[in-house]
Symmetry: C2
Subunit: 275 residues, 2 copies
């Protein structure tokens, strides 16, 4: 693909390359008329600013880093699709890292600094080193910490609702997107009498097949098992995390330290129980 | 986090900054002894080459682009986890793009060129514009085209095996990871008599519940339905695609134009039928 260069734009606009560069960066020393002419030439030719080169001459690189604690989860695609959509509309690119296990957080953060990312979305248990970064950080599924933004699930109403459905039976939560649903484990109680009420999201078959009071974290399985479904709003978390980050990078918009997302609870019949 | 600079390394090694830069790039004009000394100083201080700056002074940026036709699929995480693991070990970063729907291929390719990616993994139906890129391209799930590498599923033996399991009944494939499993649709036949033999991977319940001859594309569902499971080897595709790409970028290793991956077919009892 023959790339349109800055020289092509300069020729089209009848100015020199330096003027093109300054005009495209919105430099006020270039007259409004010249800036308009350069922008029109760039648009006509389909010119796009060279991102690597312009990253060195301005403060931003147009790159957002996304770290997932565990990449091979089934909801990864939904989360990244949501983040990617928002970043694309803001003309930013997504640099992806796996943060858990083999790569200690400090190494990942060093790589992010090396790439001069403008900001970071961190999905998982927050590493203490995050506080030392000099770029905006949005933690997903975590409680807010000073100086960081967070996007997390609202937990009070969902906990109350799950308790009510349990009707005083013990509640056990297993597997599932722990990074956002870990608060359900707080509902776990250990008692000897009776079957526990189970909030279920693991790959194995639930203990006694199709129980009408089962709550399943996976929509496909919930439909098959005719169970209530507690849907982790992964897409919403992704959209909000990306919006909070892009606003923080541009220094614009509403930026509350903590954003809460509601969890939806849907019955097997598709009825909205909570949400 | 206080970053270690090239000046720190120069001080530690007792040389000037220019020597550090050349030594770390393996410049032969620097003596072996000095190169060793600089590397040891860099290692001791935990110095990492500034990726953006070194990208401008060498031919490579250390960035691989990955384009997914559809990002919100359930196997996205498994694929990206595999690609990310290989790239990390090769000290490369992963720049992620969504290629289908709202973003026409030509726009995505322009963004990739703007970021000066060293290579591209394209998961989905290949766009004609791919041929015009000047970097190595690995297409996943596609037939090889001249000048491009491809990683795809071996289809002959799996098609034959599915036909045999069907015992002359019609076969119908629905939903699922079409980018890699699309060849199953070739088995589809339209007849009026009898229930079709179904290779099933959609979110809906299969037509008549638990059929022992059902083949399911999702491992979790297959276990629950006690069905045979035809597993799309998404992790293997990711590992191979990343290995072929990194080898092509470095101009090393075996680089066959087309690499085929075997599909595994597992019975409900966990018995390996094919693979």
């Amino acid at each position: 693909m023959a790339r349109v260069t800055m020289a092509d734009v300069a020729l089209e606009a009848g100015v020199n390359k330096g003027t093109v560069s300054r005009a495209l960066r919105g430099d006020r020393r270039i007259s409004a008329e010249t800036r308009r002419r350069v922008w029109e030439a760039a648009k006509k030719l389909g010119y796009e600013l060279d991102a690597v080169a312009s990253g060195l001459s301005s403060k931003r690189t147009g790159v957002a880093a996304v770290v997932l604690e565990r990449m091979d989860a089934p909801w990864t695609g939904e989360f990244l699709g949501a983040v990617s959509g928002v970043l694309s509309r803001c003309k930013m690119e997504l640099l992806l890292f796996e943060g858990g296990g083999a790569s200690p957080a400090v190494n990942v953060l060093r790589r992010i600094e090396g790439r001069k990312a403008d900001g970071l979305i961190w999905f998982g248990a927050p590493a203490p080193e995050l506080g030392a970064l000099e770029i905006p950080v949005v933690c997903v599924g975590a409680s807010p910490r000073p100086g960081q933004f967070s996007v997390a699930l609202e937990r009070e109403s969902v906990s109350a609702r799950v308790r009510a459905l349990a009707e005083r039976r013990p509640v056990r939560y297993r597997g599932g997107p722990a990074a956002v649903m870990e608060f359900l484990s707080e509902l776990e109680t250990e008692t000897g009498d009776g079957e526990p009420f189970v909030v279920w999201d693991g790959p194995k078959k639930p203990p006694d097949g199709e129980r009408p009071d089962l709550i399943c974290g996976d929509e496909r399985l919930a439909r098959l098992l005719r169970a209530n479904c507690l849907r982790a709003p992964v897409r919403e978390l992704g959209v909000l995390a990306a919006r909070v980050l892009t606003n923080a990078i541009r220094g614009s918009g509403v930026r509350p330290a903590a954003t809460l997302v509601k969890t939806t609870l849907v019955s097997a019949a598709g009825e909205l129980i909570l949400g």
